[in-house]
């Protein structure tokens, strides 16, 4: 009987061993955390994981791919190079992202979180589905510069990825759909809903907002929330908030995709969650501080083509105190739980 007990023990170990993730690749994850989240009071997300079911193995694969330099043509940069975890997955201190061969891009890398609520991706909304989003950077000559087929071939030749694909999908054959869907599981689970403001709203942890934060919140609700709408702090519509056109980039924004004159110089309203961590700001990174952003909204705004009617051409005329208060409020949108979430950090460090 004792021997049987031993066998039982061994069996148990084997079973556990096979379920556990290779510690060299990634530390074990609390798998029960890898679930779809819809915080109370939030709308239904655009993307549910119905055809792309969540599993720990897919997440591990997606995480490895997100930080994989083989996704670029000269194996030098990964998604994580421009989307840094400590900066809410924006590109810290880079006005516009530069990619392989130090080529200069034209747009600022936005933070990535709560992506499953986005109807369209990129500042101009050119990408219509979260699953095909990674194709853009992988195949863009300005960013990672590789065609998807050589990337598939590189991954297929790697024993690490044969192993990870096999775990995630039961077969070690790499194809574009499996690659894209694993990356979607990883990115799609980047939820940010635990900022100071969220705790305050949910009456959790006895969190209170200061007087300045509360004044900022009421100004924000009056002037900004028509576009930066709660709870995502964006309505995801394309609008001009009055930025003058940069003569060098001549970025026509949404019109670049639709060809419509009425869409010229309109950009996707960005979420303001984690805004304190995602400088520089605006689609071309023209502002380095929130102060400058507030100055933009305060001062006279030239009557530009397609300027949104909710932006007064003489600006919102905020006082210095108003600006400080709004910034104090914006700072409450930083989600430290998300920023410090090890599940999304580079597994190679």
């Amino acid at each position: 009987m004792n021997r049987i007990a031993n066998i039982f023990f061994l069996l148990g170990v084997l079973i556990f061993a096979s379920c556990k993730v290779d510690p060299k690749i990634i530390e074990p994850l609390p798998a029960d955390n890898l679930v779809e989240v819809i915080p109370d009071g939030w709308p239904q997300p655009k993307y549910t994981f119905s055809v792309n079911t969540i599993s720990e193995d897919k997440f591990v694969l997606g995480r490895a791919l997100f930080y994989e330099e083989m996704l670029s043509v000269d194996n030098t940069i990964s998604c994580g190079s421009c989307h840094q975890d400590f900066a809410a997955f924006s590109h810290s201190e880079h006005k516009v992202s530069h990619g392989i061969y130090d080529r200069q891009g034209t747009r600022n890398a936005p933070g990535i979180f709560n992506l499953t609520w986005h109807p369209l991706f990129m500042h101009d909304g050119g990408i219509n589905h979260i699953e095909v989003q990674p194709l853009g950077p992988i195949t863009n000559t300005l960013e990672m510069g590789a065609d998807i087929n050589p990337v598939i071939a590189k991954l297929q030749a790697s024993s690490k990825y044969q192993n990870l694909f096999k775990k995630a999908y039961g077969s070690d054959t790499v194809n574009s759909q499996k690659l894209l869907r694993a990356m979607t599981v990883f990115m799609g689970l980047m939820y940010s809903y635990n900022s100071k403001f969220d705790y305050y709203k949910r009456n959790e942890n006895n969190v209170e907002l200061s007087d300045a934060e509360l004044r900022g919140y009421s100004l924000f609700t009056a002037k900004c929330s028509g576009c930066h709408t709660e709870p995502l702090f964006s309505d995801f519509a394309f609008r001009s908030n009055g930025l003058t056109v940069d003569p060098f980039y001549q970025d026509s924004g949404r019109a670049h995709i639709t060809g419509l004159p009425t869409d010229r110089y309109k950009f996707k309203t960005p979420s303001l969650r984690n805004i304190a961590k995602t400088a520089p700001y605006m689609h071309d990174g023209r502002y380095t501080t929130l102060n400058e952003c507030l100055d933009h909204y305060t001062n006279a705004i030239p009557n530009l083509t397609n300027l949104d009617p909710s932006i007064p051409t003489n600006g919102f005329q905020f006082s210095a105190q108003n600006k400080q208060d709004i910034i104090a409020f914006l700072n409450t949108l930083t989600d430290y739980k998300f920023l410090g979430d090890k599940r999304f950090a580079n597994p190679n460090f």
Partner: protein, 260 residues
């Protein structure tokens, strides 16, 4: 410990059951194969320039009298429906096919499981419906690694014709026509319907009919708009010009005959 040990046999039994075929189970009797009631129809796409067979990288003359060579011709055929003489229809499931002239096997579409009957007409779409343009990562012919998907203004390139012409206004004398756009007034999908007239496709146990279609590249260069490659040599985005090309290819495919 006693308690755990009690469950060991059960545990082992469960493991055995789930991992191994039970030896005591008799081999299942092979089912008698039911008499077949369906067969396959093939649709064969033969590519031409006017009445000459299209050979890649060979010179032809278009309606504007420009000389040109084709290096790539790829397009999607989707949503195939085949109609019986009694007007009931056979709708091919997951009906998305990439025809690529450089890959001979792709120029024949095989449609299995057609019930025995006489079929009188065929319809399909050149292009991919808007739903599949917005449904994320796909597999098979719709996979995003076939060179037929735009990554920055996402959607399928429904029709791709590439080549060269000495008259081309492009600096490297190239011709580059990537036609796409899945919605709105400038969408580029075009529907085709063909009646087999006096020779229906008779699917039976012994007959698997072949439907011959012909695809004339010169129809892309004319009717309604005669293309002048000096100025119209490159198209790589959606919009009114893409629609103009789509209106040209709307009569590019014609029905030849059914081979029963």
């Amino acid at each position: 410990m006693k308690n755990i040990i009690k469950y060991i046999p059960l545990f082992l039994l469960l493991t055995t059951v789930s991992c191994k075929k039970d030896k005591k189970d008799p081999e299942p009797e092979p089912e008698p194969t039911p008499a077949a009631t369906t067969n396959t129809i093939k649709i064969l796409f033969e590519h031409t320039v006017d009445t000459n067979e299209l050979v890649l990288n060979q010179n032809y003359v278009n309606p504007n009298l420009d000389t040109f060579k084709v290096s790539t011709l790829k397009y999607y055929i989707s949503n195939i429906v085949i109609t019986k003489n009694d007007n009931t229809t056979f709708v091919e499931p997951e009906s998305y096919h990439l025809i690529d002239v450089s890959n001979l096997s792709s120029t024949t579409i095989s449609i299995p499981n057609l019930p025995f009957a006489s079929y009188k007409s065929l319809s399909f779409t050149l292009g991919v419906d808007s739903t599949r343009n917005c449904s994320g990562a796909q597999t098979g012919d719709l996979a995003q690694n076939k060179g037929m998907f735009w990554n920055w203004s996402t959607g399928y390139i429904m029709f791709k014709l590439e080549g060269t012409s000495p008259q081309s206004g492009a600096s490297n004398k190239s011709l580059t026509y990537h036609i796409g756009g899945f919605g709105g007034v400038n969408k580029v999908q075009r529907n085709f319907i063909f009646n087999f007239a006096s020779t229906p496709a008779n699917v039976s146990a012994s007959v698997s009919p072949v439907i011959h279609m012909s695809v004339d590249v010169n129809e892309f260069f004319k009717n309604p708009t005669t293309i002048n490659v000096a100025t119209q040599h490159t198209q790589m985005s959606t919009g009114a010009t893409a629609k103009m090309f789509a209106d040209n290819y709307a009569d590019m495919i014609s029905f030849e005959h059914v081979h029963n």
